[in-house]
Amino acid sequence: MDEVDLAIRDGEFFTMLGPSGSGKTTCLRLIAGFEQPTAGHIEIFGERADGVPPYLRNVNTVFQSYALFPHMNVLDNVAFGLRVKGVSRVERLKAAEEALAMVELAGYGSRRAGELSGGQRQRVALARALINKPRVLLLDEPLGALDLKLREQMQEELRKLQRALGLTFVFVTHDQEEALSMADRVAVFAEGRIQQVGSAEDIYRRPASRFVADFVGSSNVIPADFAGVGAAGQWASLRPEDITLDPAGREAVVTGRYFHGRVVKLALDVGGQALTALVAPRDDLPDAGRATRIAWDPARVHLMERGS
């Protein structure tokens, strides 16, 4: 990982987004304390945290693989954090029951982790991390192993939980839609560096670099003069959904047409420049190989600060 300068605010839902190997998980592991920085430092609520082992940090983690202890039942898993703190058995099991109820798993305490579904394990991992009342909860691609329906449901629940508890959530994901829909702020990672930090809308509407534009919502990254917003040598981002079919627009050749359900993806060739457009499905959409005319509102084109 390279230089990363990041300030996460108290009580916010912060998402670290990036492809695998971009350094987002390393960043999370640095905050959790599983790894130590070779240079620079980490502060958690104003206290120097580098060199502090994970078990002394007021930070808890929900792991990608859940990492539930296979030799314990669900209740003991959840109570583990209190057990190592020396809380009495009666007290910690009571607290664990409450934590399970919070994630809607009351009554599952005597089961083994292996007997639960993926979504249930996810909730147990969440309850186990929250029982320590951390000020920051770290979530390492916690929804990656769940199917789409369940994932959407968990996204909503996580968001609610975060608001209800008023905790800081640091959420790592490679799914840009997940990042945009859940986070107060998003940091986009690539190659061990932060590419951009901002609100979801900021990142989407005003990507700072070609990488961000392409990774978040697969934008058309085109020369600025072609887009009609700047000088040659600059780059602009044009969102595929901002391109419309317009009989008065520029000439384009459809090179491919892909039906996606809610939208149709059109691959276009505009005078040698490849573009992707997302349009609403209609009966009269041009087939692949046909000519058509397209247009876009120059106000929707974002001129990027960096070309790379």
Partner: protein, 269 residues
């Protein structure tokens, strides 16, 4: 896994023959433990008696050898458990320069012929002027006992997700708590199995012991000596019978224990 088709008769006969060939000599040892003939092994035995059991119980040399063997096996197993587990943890859990070499070097004592281990230990002891004692035997046995424990532990460590350790530390467990509450329960059956196998191996070891024992006789060595000078021969058979029981039971137990450990979890997705 089994197929529905029945095995043809010739195959059954061959299998039975093979098993007979393997097990008949062992059965013979059991039979001769009860024979009335004490000078030579005669087939069929002229008669059967239980008196050798009593004779064996009253022979102090048998007890001495037995206790020495048990002591050596116990100490070697304890040493092997400690060192083997630590080595396995290091090799399976971390990356460092020479890791592959170390894992090879650890396994080497069991790949090398026992006679090499024996000779090299003996020359090392005499070079360092270490007098032969129970401890030299223990050292010899520990070399291969460590391998057994190491192999069992390293396989289990590899199947146990490293995230479990992260999770324990994350939830506030310090090093000792992580070890006793999370690591140990997850590797316990592997250690038990490894320890039992190591114990059994040490208990009937002859070659390395010959080179490292000095004047003391472990049970297998004692049996070898008894065979050379015949005196109350069936006593050897009674002892052999006891050894078979003492070694087979732990091995069976180890087999059943590791069989259940197949699904060591923690890495479920």
């Amino acid at each position: 896994m089994h197929s529905d088709t029945r095995a043809p008769l010739p195959l059954k006969l061959a299998a039975a023959g093979g098993l007979f060939f393997l097990l008949a000599p062992i059965a013979l040892i059991f039979v001769y433990a009860f024979t009335t003939e004490e000078k030579s092994f005669q087939w069929p035995p002229p008669g059967f008696t239980l008196k050798w059991l009593g004779v064996t119980l009253n022979r102090p040399d048998v007890w001495e050898a037995l206790f020495l063997s048990l002591r050596v096996a116990a100490i070697s197993t304890v040493i092997a458990l400690a060192l083997g587990t630590l080595t396995a943890a290091a090799v399976a859990r971390s990356r460092f320069f020479g890791r592959e070499t170390i894992s090879l070097l650890v396994i080497l004592p069991i790949a090398l012929p026992g006679i090499i281990t024996g000779i090299s230990l003996r020359s090392a002891f005499s070079l360092l002027e270490i007098p032969f004692s129970t401890w030299t035997i223990v050292l010899g046995h520990a070399t291969f006992c460590i391998v057994i424990v190491y192999n069992n532990a390293v396989a289990r460590f590899r199947r146990t997700s490293g995230a479990l350790i992260d999770a324990a530390m994350d939830l506030g467990a310090d090093g000792v708590q992580t070890f006793t509450l999370v690591i140990l329960p997850n590797i316990a059956t592997a250690l038990l199995a490894g320890g039992m196998l190591a114990f059994a191996l040490s208990f009937d070891e002859v070659i390395v012991t010959t080179f490292t024992a000095g004047q003391q006789t472990t049970l297998p060595i004692w049996m070898l000596e008894e065979l050379v000078r015949p005196r109350q021969r069936p006593v050897t058979n009674v002892v052999a019978m006891a050894v078979v029981l003492v070694t087979v039971l732990p091995i069976l137990a180890a087999y059943y224990l590791t069989r259940d450990g197949e699904h060591t979890a923690g890495a479920e997705k």
